[in-house]
Symmetry: none
Subunit: 415 residues, 2 copies
């Protein structure tokens, strides 16, 4: 029998419209992958009666309720109280949780306010899930429905889901997994990608196809079920390869490997180093790579050459160069790439210039952008075009174009 | 009496985790602004029984249910059927809607499939809301609760809300607006902030207080109602000032002004320029500032000095300096700030070093970090501590600590 779940998100900020409930989205994707059908998302404010009523209603409807949020230390964090009231048991202080909390605060050198000890109180008979931040999770049963409460902070929720909820799901479903294979497509439009991919999946009743458009990439999502992870991968690998081939090199990465991860991995495999020279992106390209663990082995550094003077002072462009060639141009972008590579003594260097807006620069319209790659032999490849979007999207898209240029250059195996 | 509303989002795609429910966020903000308290978001798949049950449950709880989605022409669009079943009335074809639909398809030169006429069927006794796309909305009452169903396509939903739902809200509430004032707090923990702020708001029945913790800031949120926008601001400005004073300079900005925006504005007011020297953050500090429109007037540029060699090559640290003082240390961070300021000839320079993980560096644990500010007279202020979190959070928090150091230095009015 297919198990059914509901996601209960707790927090008044969700209901004021100031925050979109991405935890519900994330949990739903993961529950779906594990073969559990999500039948409801419900968001409730920080109100004890409504929380208790919501828990009661959902527990009667599904096999598993995942609660996100309301486990913090403040008076408006009421998930603990609501779980206790719904289960008709008292809250109990747990000495081991108090000790853990005290130790964590001491380790960080923070002062622990008395109200932080609220987080060590758990409904009687419930199982405490050890915290990864400061908020422990809670697992109990209401009648025969499992209720698991996790902190609303996304990284804590993700980590506790993986370590603690996944084993429970396997127990409930008897295993079996549904995975969504993700192809990260860069430099192509959504309708363009759909027109190529849809015919390849048309005959496959065992595959659910969807598309997700982000500022810097289109995700092609293929959802496939099987007995276990290896089975799903074996069933879906040929289709993933077929789709990637049809998209002719526009697939930057698959599954957890996005563009930045692939660039860091390929630089590592080639034993190559990278420098950056960023004008319009203001350091975002280097920062995107620096978020990938292991980046410090391949990213030497970079120059944020935001104002014209910085191009001269940090990368030694000769006086008069910018006046002659413009601050946003093919020639200047090429020169910046070569200069960054020379200055930082790296194998490769990426450079970008452009106009992010809100106003035009030197008569160039918002969205004008150039990106260049200087390679190991000193050769430079430069591209330019008008990039659509608002300021944030232009910055994201120019960075992606530059990183993708490097990815394509590194696609041959290391020599 | 404060009117209460719920948002019911219809569509299985929401429950698979492929789509985040931004309609619920948008509707909640608009309802809140019009003085209606949103007490629930509920998402339900394309399942008739569950939709009818959800409508019944919500109608018993609130004065107004806004339904988004499920009004399309396909067989899995079941909102019309669910409304009719919940109201215990039949669906009726409406000739005027059929005529409108036929005319619209003719106008667009599209062929109208017979199933499109499903969209002209409305529960008996309900009011049809003329379509702006192809899907008409529906307004009916379940007992004394208003239920308004709008198409799920965001632009159609937004437009019909403004033309059709807002007048209903004014009728229900007698007019008035509610706004959320936001104080962006940096460098303090959530429980710490709550302990200070909660007593200040304790006696105020007209203010709803909530907290929102993000990686780089804590938001203190004060929701206040009044007759119009000016009235709300006048009522809440003294409390905002009182809370800011109690937090002793930890409030980086208010409402739409976050830390980055305030730093760019204050640099602009001072006519001052900034350079950065970033190791652990990899360019993220400069990139955060570059996202603010107008940053190009104050952010000269920066050096991403990620690997040790880059610190020497880009900022001319003397040979042996790093060996003597370490790549992550107070002395090195100070030296980087001074070097960036000199090299880029700016008034101020920020520098950061640290260990983002996943592994320790030179025996320093993950989270060790230093940030320094070199000021106009050449003086340098440097701070360091162990920053909690995963790699992404450490990068975000170190960047925030550095930017906040600069904000505090710029808090005096320009000379």
């Amino acid at each position: 029998m297919r198990r059914r779940a509901a996601v209960l998100s707790v927090g008044s900020e969700l209901l004021l419209g100031d925050l979109t409930d991405t935890n519900a989205t994330w949990l739903s994707r993961r529950l779906t992958e594990h073969g559990v059908e999500v039948v409801h998302h419900l968001a409730v404010g920080d109100d004890l009666d409504r929380l208790v009523a919501a828990l009661g209603w959902l527990a009667a409807e599904v096999d598993l309720v995942l609660v996100g949020g309301g486990l913090g230390p403040t008076a408006d964090d009421l998930t603990r109280e609501a779980l206790a009231a719904a289960a008709r048991v008292p809250l109990e202080p747990r000495p081991e949780l108090e000790a853990e909390l005290t130790a964590r605060f001491a380790e960080m050198g923070w002062r622990m306010a008395p109200q932080n000890l609220r987080q060590a109180r758990i409904p009687a008979g419930a199982r405490a899930i050890p915290a990864v931040g400061t908020a422990p999770g809670i697992h109990l049963e209401l009648d025969s429905t499992h209720v698991v409460a996790l902190p609303g902070v996304p990284w804590e929720l993700h980590q506790l889901f993986d370590t603690d909820v996944v084993p429970l799901l396997d127990e409930l479903t008897g295993g079996g997994v549904t995975l969504t294979r993700v192809l990260h497509v860069v430099g192509r439009g959504e309708s363009d990608v759909a027109e190529i991919v849809e015919p390849l999946v048309a005959g496959r009743d065992d595959v659910v196809l969807s598309f997700l458009a982000k500022a810097h990439e289109i995700q092609v999502r293929l959802t496939v079920s099987g007995t276990d992870r290896a089975d799903v991968l074996a069933r879906s690998d040929p289709l993933v390869a077929e789709v990637a081939a049809a998209l002719q090199g526009a697939v930057a990465g698959v599954d957890d490997e996005d563009l930045e991860t692939v660039v860091v991995r390929r630089l590592t495999e080639h034993g190559a180093t990278l420098a950056t020279a960023e004008s319009v992106t203001g350091g975002a390209i280097a920062a995107r790579l620096a978020r990938v663990p292991g980046a410090s082995a391949v990213l030497a550094g970079g120059a944020v050459v935001y104002q014209p003077g910085a191009k001269e002072r940090l990368l030694d462009l000769p006086p008069g160069f910018l006046a002659a060639h413009g601050t946003v141009s093919e020639t200047t972008t090429s020169a910046l790439a070569s200069a960054a590579r020379a200055r930082l003594a790296t194998d490769h260097a990426l450079a970008v210039t452009g106009v992010a807006g809100p106003t035009e620069v030197d008569g160039l319209p918002v969205g004008t952008a150039f990106w260049a790659l200087a390679g190991p032999d000193g050769e430079v490849e430069v591209h330019g075009r008008r990039v659509p979007g608002d300021r944030a999207q232009i910055i994201a898209r120019v960075g992606t174009a530059a990183l993708d240029l490097l990815r394509r250059h590194l696609s041959a195996p290391p020599r």
